[in-house]
């Protein structure tokens, strides 16, 4: 999205809030992240989060966020997040309106309604969008590793890493199981049917939750996303997520497809958080089921309605040092597996040490070792040290 458009929308709503009612309240928050990153010889933004031009080590801005909540009255509010990040992990020039919604909490009701752009309800990690909410610097494989399915041309073997197909001036690399920025457009409702014990969310969106550029509305696309959150014990939270939707993005390359509606993804997921004392164990597992065309670059022809599956799981173990308030160490083990040979399995182990220096300064240093099946390259490791300032 155009940077100026983002700012105009944000300040338009800000002005609306000021003009609206005497009781309007505005909360503003912001985060700024800068990082030092260094990666192995095979580094690539779509594989280990490190752009190949930065693999020898570089200090770069990571992310800038401005968050605003405008509360018109106790029932009605508007929420915004303007986000700036690096384009494919390199140039710091991407501006997004990552959140822009109106939320209605009817009085004396367990229901809540949201319209606009909001965080997708699918999964545990989607709600950990801000770096201040994350244990690690990087996102899990399911959210950050680009698999060989493209929103324009379906499944292509060795997409990007071998098979190079330029789309809009860039070689296509596919998309992750879930879009790492985690936002969706549409309508969402939440039903807190057993306060403190269980709640349920349901969203009708303009695409399935794996689509990155979901701001563009395509009448062929839709998404249904739902999540059930339970708390079986005081130390245990559990979630079940489901989504089904379409994610086609029109392109000259798929214009010759007779049936362009066959870009479907179904996601099933479950997640948990266990916490006691200074220890927390959390994780998520999901299965992605695709019905997409397969594209052959050599014949430039499609085979429609092909089925592919991918599975991913991650577990985080985190310990906060009680004798050094604000510090913690964590370990993450995660995997991404694919049915058949349409992509290569990935295994990643990460460790991180974090410290909240002040109430507004967070430092983290993470190291990840990653292996990709059938790959001769061993250079996918990544060092990422980030400094986060927030207010």
């Amino acid at each position: 999205m155009n940077r100026n458009t983002c700012l105009v929308i944000l300040f338009g709503f800000y002005a609306l809030g000021l003009w609206g009612q005497e009781k309007t309240q505005i909360e503003l928050n912001g985060t700024a992240d800068v990082e030092y990153l260094r990666g192995g010889n095979s580094s690539h933004y779509y594989l280990n989060g490190v752009h190949k031009d930065l693999k020898t080590g570089a200090v770069r801005p990571l992310e800038l966020n401005l968050l605003a909540k405008i509360r018109f009255n106790p029932q009605l509010s508007a929420n915004f997040r303007v986000q700036m990040e690096r384009d494919e992990g390199l140039k710091f020039d991407q501006v997004r309106l990552a959140q822009a919604n109106v939320q209605w909490n009817p009085q004396e009701s367990p229901w809540q309604f949201t319209a606009g752009r909001f965080v997708t309800p699918f999964g545990l990690f989607s709600n950990l969008q801000l770096s201040t909410a994350r244990t690690f610097v990087d996102v899990p494989l399911a959210y950050g590793y680009f698999a060989n399915i493209s929103e324009q041309i379906g499944q292509v073997d060795r997409l990007g890493n071998g098979t190079q197909i330029p789309i809009n001036g860039r070689n296509e690399w596919g998309i992750p199981l879930l879009y790492y920025n985690g936002y969706a457009n549409g309508l969402k409702t939440r039903w807190n049917f057993a306060p403190g014990k269980a709640s349920w969310e349901f969203a009708l969106t303009t695409a399935s939750p794996n689509l990155p550029k979901n701001f563009r509305f395509d009448p062929l696309n839709y998404g249904l996303i739902t999540r059930l959150k339970l708390q079986p014990k005081y130390f245990w939270k559990h979630g079940f997520s489901f989504s089904h939707g379409k994610f086609l993005q029109a392109d000259l390359l798929n214009d010759n497809l007779i049936d362009r509606s066959g870009y479907k993804q179904t996601l099933l997921g479950t997640d948990f958080v266990l916490g006691f004392g200074h220890f927390e164990l959390s994780g998520e597992a999901m299965g992605a089921f695709y019905q997409v065309p397969t594209y052959s670059p050599s014949t430039k022809k499609y085979s429609t309605n092909q089925n592919f599956q991918a599975f991913s799981a991650w577990v985080d173990a985190k310990y906060e040092f009680p004798f050094l308030v604000g510090t913690y160490a964590a370990w993450r083990v995660e995997t991404l597996q694919f049915s058949g040979t349409w992509d290569e399995a990935v295994l990643r182990n990460s460790v991180v040490i974090g410290a909240k220096i002040k109430d507004f300064i967070l430092i983290r240093s993470a190291f990840a070792l990653q292996s990709i099946q059938h790959s001769n390259a061993t250079g996918y490791h990544a060092w990422r040290t980030s400094l986060t300032l927030y207010f």
Partner: protein, 228 residues
């Protein structure tokens, strides 16, 4: 020589004691509090604060826990050092993902009991310099004691729940109270003398003034938190 010095200081002490105020004064007043929370709120814990549909209990707690209902007024002697003893029953509760009360005034050196009355765990910590602690995730129904040695504000957060925050106000005086919902307050038992008046509001911060009391009477001191 040492004996002479000791006698000298004891005489000085005796003279001071003789001059110590004996009248007990009462201060009453009203604090003008803005009806609305200020434009810029602080302490949202930096996460996506997606609000949950609030239960009737949560709404009741939010109303009772509004910063306007937790305005602390305290009187600090400018003439003598007041004797303080630890505040008894200093409890910081957690209910419906909210710290209750929003502001807990105590005397310096008191022990605050952190009680979890929710059905889930909270991770209470403070990054306030000289008052850093992290009591970790604790079982509902259990309270955890924490000694507060620092003077002044101790900011509390929960790392698990966005927007869950509160303050402990540690004071070096026994003369403090909370204003009621209308802003009225009453503090009794102040010896004659000059005092610094301090008002603390969670969202508005501190406002200070001075007052002199003598003769054991009732003095009215109105204070204003509303910006002109």
């Amino acid at each position: 020589m040492r004996t002479l010095l000791s006698i000298f200081f004891n005489v000085i002490l005796l003279l001071n004691t003789a001059d110590a105020p004996i009248n007990k004064n009462k201060i009453v007043g009203k604090i003008a509090i803005p009806t609305e929370v200020p434009l810029l709120k602080r302490g949202s814990n930096q996460k996506y604060c997606e609000e949950e549909p609030a239960s009737p209990r949560k709404k009741q707690i939010d109303q009772e826990n509004h910063p306007n209902r937790h305005v602390v007024v305290s009187f600090h002697s400018l003439d003598f050092k007041a004797t303080i003893s630890p505040t008894t029953s200093a409890i910081m509760n957690q209910m419906e993902k909210t710290f209750v009360p929003k502001v807990l005034p105590i005397t310096q050196g008191s022990t605050v009991e952190f009680l979890n009355s929710d059905t889930e765990v909270h991770n209470i910590f403070s990054m306030t310099p000289r008052a850093t602690f992290n009591i970790g995730r604790r079982q509902p129904g259990k309270s955890v004691p924490q000694l507060i040695e620092k003077l002044g504000l101790v900011e509390l957060r929960c790392d698990i729940h966005c927007g869950m925050n509160a303050s402990i106000l540690s004071l070096d005086t026994p003369f403090f109270t909370k204003a009621n919902a209308s802003g009225n307050y009453e503090v009794d038992g102040l010896p004659d003398g000059n005092y610094k008046v301090q008002v603390y509001h969670y969202s508005l911060g501190f406002v200070e003034d001075n007052i002199t009391v003598k003769g054991g009477g009732v003095v009215t001191k109105n204070l204003n938190l509303v910006k002109p």
